[in-house]
Amino acid sequence: MDKIIELFNVTKLYNIGEKEYKALDNVSLEINKGDFVVILGPSGAGKSTLLNLIGGMDSVSEGTIFIDGTNITNYNEEALTKFRAENIGFIFQFYNIFSNLTVLENVELVNDVVRNPINAKEAIKSVGLENHINKFPTQLSGGEQQRVSIARAISKNSKILLCDEPTGALDSKTGIEILKLLKYQCSNENNTVIIVTHNTLYTDIADSVIKVKNGKIENIIKNDKPKNIDEVNW
């Protein structure tokens, strides 16, 4: 299968005061195109750091990162900005949508930075919010707000969707719906979806599970027959 993400000996150091803190330590991994990947680990394990590096939000201290065959390791800020605009869709735990823009505007927003966006209304329809396009975020539930965030990522027509605890702020029923949406994007639209979580139940539905502990990859589990979301006892 085509590899879309490759990390070679990636280390990320943070300076906290005079001390150096190793958030990631010599991490190497590969992720295939169209996979539904779960990065699992306890708090402080380095999951979000890993996601941020893949997404070009942060740069490595050591090592190399290839995204879709391109080495992004030494990209400057401008190049990383372009890279994020064209390749990455982010979905955050707390949605990060703009409270002063309507649903439609929040999604249309990406038209300013993406060359071939997916029509915003279609993206909104695909997440089931077609009846709410003129509402403001405060008029929506948490689940609906997260759908807006997903619609925005979809509209970007990105190859990779990076999700940091996407259901963390939602009740389980709404969380399941969001996961179904993400899974749909993966299986039907051939997007690579990477979810960071500490919820072990996610392991059953993922194509592969990357377990992170103390900044290192503990193990990578390939799941040949991932379960259907409805089959999991949430």
Binding site: M57, K82, F90, F98, L109, T138
Partner: protein, 762 residues
């Protein structure tokens, strides 16, 4: 531990706290600066007039005898009286000088304030000289000056450099409004030094000191009834010197009200918004303290201390430095024209009170914002407040709005949600723009006044002020050589149904060398069938065209009734005018006291029968010199306005930036370039600046209008004028300030750390 939090919060939010400090400091600095110089002027003058026993009543006459003096002294309420002979002469040591020579018998009323040398002694054969005049001409105690009076020339040794309460404001003539103290001044001599025979000593004024100042009017009537030889009996209310000084103080009051009022208002508004935002931003931390078991009182005390200490320090610093800087600049300006003892600044109780109020208001706002948060349950305060639902009536789904580019939409929405912040930004920036325009407008108005007075109304090159005793021959010689273009000033008392007024009438026979303008500043010709009144005086006396006035010449009890046939406008004198022909129709003899000419008199030093020869350009230059002093004030206003604008725009930007850093981080994550985010950020401030410029233009004109309406004394009537270039300066100044500040702020966007900002938001 809370103290540590206090200091760390201040460091963390240093930008906001620096702006709070700057705004409070600037507001109090300007207020206390202007107020202190004004209070100093008032205090110094009160003390000077009091300690030097400034005369209460002036009696002007022809020849006051010893007997007249004794009669005056015996009048009820008169404590003391002294005679004085004032004549015009010159000092040979000073080029082209015109000197008021005063002979006195004693000096207990309007006593000398000796700056150097000795006080008055009747037996000393020496001269006491105006210290301003002496300083400007390098004369000092011990020098000998040659005094020329009439045909006599005599040498006198200077025994004292003095100032006198009568000469606080002492210009050469009514045409010269800003005394230069270079070629005009006064000297005092003992009556024993009178160069002519004693029988020629004809005292022409008596200074009166009264017991009870409130009974002055009654005393004046008694003097008029019981004394002969008087022409006019006036009091401090009619004294040009003390009244001009008083007007200057009133002008100061206008500056306090207008300028420091604007600064304080904007400063407080800005600080209130910032403190309110700060407390709201600290909501969850406040909740944490609450959840830890800190009492509301303790939390309140902590949060109160942020606004309180910062504003207290800023206030104290403003209170100390305002008088030292602004007060000093104004005092130095004032003391150039007004001859008073050393002028110093005074911090009044009112200034302490206002500075205290600023601190209290800021503390109160902090208290109210904090109380609002503390009222909520711990569990609620711990949560970020969800943004308010948009309740605006604007339909954001209409076609036009949908077509607007994203950044504009975003900014419109943001502005609607942050109305207070935007409003504060608009008010502050409008203030900046308006003050710059006003500062230049003040300069335009004064230049316009100089042009109006000296180029439009004075159509002559030289003015000769005739000696009171000039002969027919003197007169004929002058007019045959320089033209028969003359005027006479009649000192009159006017009575209408409502009031009595001592003023003057210019009787015009200048053949167009004195011009007149109507209220629209268009030239008018005087008709021969009545009197004209200047518009400002007409307004004050509630008179109009068609009304009649009763008047008599001071020293003559014949009353006349004249119809007002026109209203003219004059920037420098508020009085009445009539033609020689009309005066003679009332059977009053015309005797010119001034002659105007366009002949070159540059080589003429003196003329028989003439007291003063004045070159119009010289008077004009004197006034223009004054403008250079005004310029220092204007520069001060501009600097303050620019600081105000910069601080407000910076504050607006920093508030906006702090509140939106997570939004900017999200935009960054989505792939928006730094430049694109910068343009979104700058756009809002640009719109605020644009609105401020639109509002600032008319407001700038209005402030200029108010300043000249309120600050000018009764005599002046300048028309507020703001040239187009001044509007351009204001607009450009505001835009440049806005551009620079926005540029500095927008650089911060580059520093937004996506990971940290997004995490912080969580």
């Amino acid at each position: 531990m809370l103290r540590r939090k206090f200091f760390r919060d201040i460091i963390k939010n240093k930008s906001q706290f620096i702006t709070i400090f700057a705004m409070v400091f600037l507001g109090v600095f300007i207020y206390s600066g202007i107020n202190s110089y004004m209070a100093g002027m008032q205090y110094v003058a009160d003390r000077y007039y009091d300690e030097n026993n400034f005369q209460d009543i002036w009696i002007i006459g022809t020849n006051f005898t010893k007997n007249d003096l004794n009669n005056i002294k015996n009048i009820n309420n008169v404590r003391d009286a002294e005679r004085k002979l004032s004549v015009i002469g010159s000092i040979n040591n000073i080029k082209d000088s015109t000197i008021q020579i005063n002979f006195i018998e004693s000096n207990n009323i309007s006593k000398f304030y000796v700056k150097n040398g000795i006080g008055f002694n009747r037996d000393i054969d020496g001269v006491w000289i105006d210290s301003y005049l002496a300083n400007n001409n390098n004369l000092n105690v011990g020098d000998v000056i040659t005094v020329k009076y009439g045909n006599e020339t005599f040498d006198k040794k200077i025994v004292g450099l003095i100032i006198v309460p009568d000469h606080v404001y002492d210009p050469k003539s009514e045409a010269e409004i800003f005394p230069t103290h270079t070629d005009y001044g006064f000297i005092y001599l003992s009556d024993k030094q009178f160069p002519y025979k004693a029988e020629y000593m004809q005292y022409n004024s008596v200074m009166v000191d009264v017991e009870n100042i409130s009974a002055t009017d009654e005393t004046k009537v008694n003097i008029e009834n019981k004394t002969s030889n008087w022409i006019a009996v006036t009091d401090r209310g009619d004294d040009v010197s003390s009244q001009t000084y008083k007007a200057e103080m009133e002008e100061g009051t206008t500056y306090v009200v207008v300028f420091s009022g604007i600064f304080l208002f904007i400063a407080i508004l800005s600080v209130i918004t910032t403190m309110n935002r700060f407390v709201k931003k600290q909501r969850t931390e406040l909740g944490i303290l609450k959840s830890l078991g800190f009492k509301n009182k303790k939390i309140m005390k902590l949060y109160l201390s942020y606004g309180f200490w910062i504003s207290l320090f800023a206030s104290i610093l403003g209170l100390i430095t305002g008088p030292m800087v602004i007060g000093k600049v104004f005092s130095n300006m004032v003391i150039k024209y007004f001859a008073i003892p050393e002028l110093y600044t005074i911090i009044t109780a009112e200034t302490y009170f206002v500075s205290g109020i600023v601190v209290v208001v800021i503390a109160l706002v902090t208290y109210l914002s904090c109380r609002k948060e503390l009222k909520e349950k711990v569990v609620d305060v711990l949560r970020e407040k969800s943004p308010k639902e948009n309740k605006s009536n604007i339909n954001f789904n209409n076609k036009i709005f949908k077509k607007i580019k994203f950044s504009t939409k975003w900014n419109i929405r943001d502005a609607i949600r942050g109305k207070a912040r935007i409003l504060m930004g608009i008010i502050g920036t409008t203030g900046c723009c308006a003050l710059i325009i006003c500062a230049f407008g003040m300069l335009n108005t004064i230049n316009d006044y100089v042009n109006w007075q000296f180029n439009e109304l004075y159509n002559f090159k030289y003015k000769m002020t005739l000696n009171r005793q000039y002969s027919e021959d003197n007169y004929n010689n002058i007019v045959s050589k320089y033209g028969n273009n003359t005027s006479q000033t009649l000192n009159v008392e006017i009575k209408n149904s409502e009031s009595k007024e001592i003023n003057n009438i210019t009787v015009d026979n200048s053949n167009g060398l004195l011009k007149y303008t109507n209220i629209n500043r268009k030239y008018i010709e005087l008709n021969d069938d009545g009197v004209y009144i200047t518009s400002k005086l007409a307004e004050r006396l509630n008179l109009n065209v068609g009304d009649n006035i009763n008047w008599h010449i001071l020293g003559d009890e014949t009353w006349y009734n004249s119809k007002i046939i026109g209203i003219n406008r004059n920037p420098q004198n508020q009085n009445f005018s009539m033609t020689k022909k009309y005066l003679e129709s009332l059977e009053i003899n015309y005797r010119a006291d001034s002659i105007y000419t366009n002949y070159d008199m540059s080589n003429i030093k003196e003329l028989e029968g003439v007291d003063i020869i004045q070159n119009k350009d010289f008077i004009k230059n004197g006034t223009e010199n004054m403008i250079s002093t005004v310029k220092s004030m204007i520069i001060m206003i501009i600097v303050a306005a620019i600081i105000l604008g910069a601080v407000i725009i910076y504050n607006l930007g920093i508030l906006s930036f702090t509140e939106k850093s997570y939004q900017f981080a999200t935009l960054k994550v989505l792939g928006f370039s730094t430049n694109k985010i910068r343009s979104i950020f700058i756009e809002q401030n640009f719109w605020v600046t644009l609105i401020a410029i639109i509002l600032g233009g008319p407001l700038g004109y209005y402030i200029t209008y108010v300043v000249f309406k309120m600050a000018l004394s009764e005599d002046y009537d300048m028309i507020a004028k703001v040239d187009n270039i001044s509007y351009l300066y204001g607009i450009l100044g505001t835009l440049i300030v806005s551009y620079i500040v926005n540029n500095i702020l927008s650089r911060k966007i580059k520093t937004v750390n996506m990971v940290e900002s997004l995490k912080a938001n969580e």
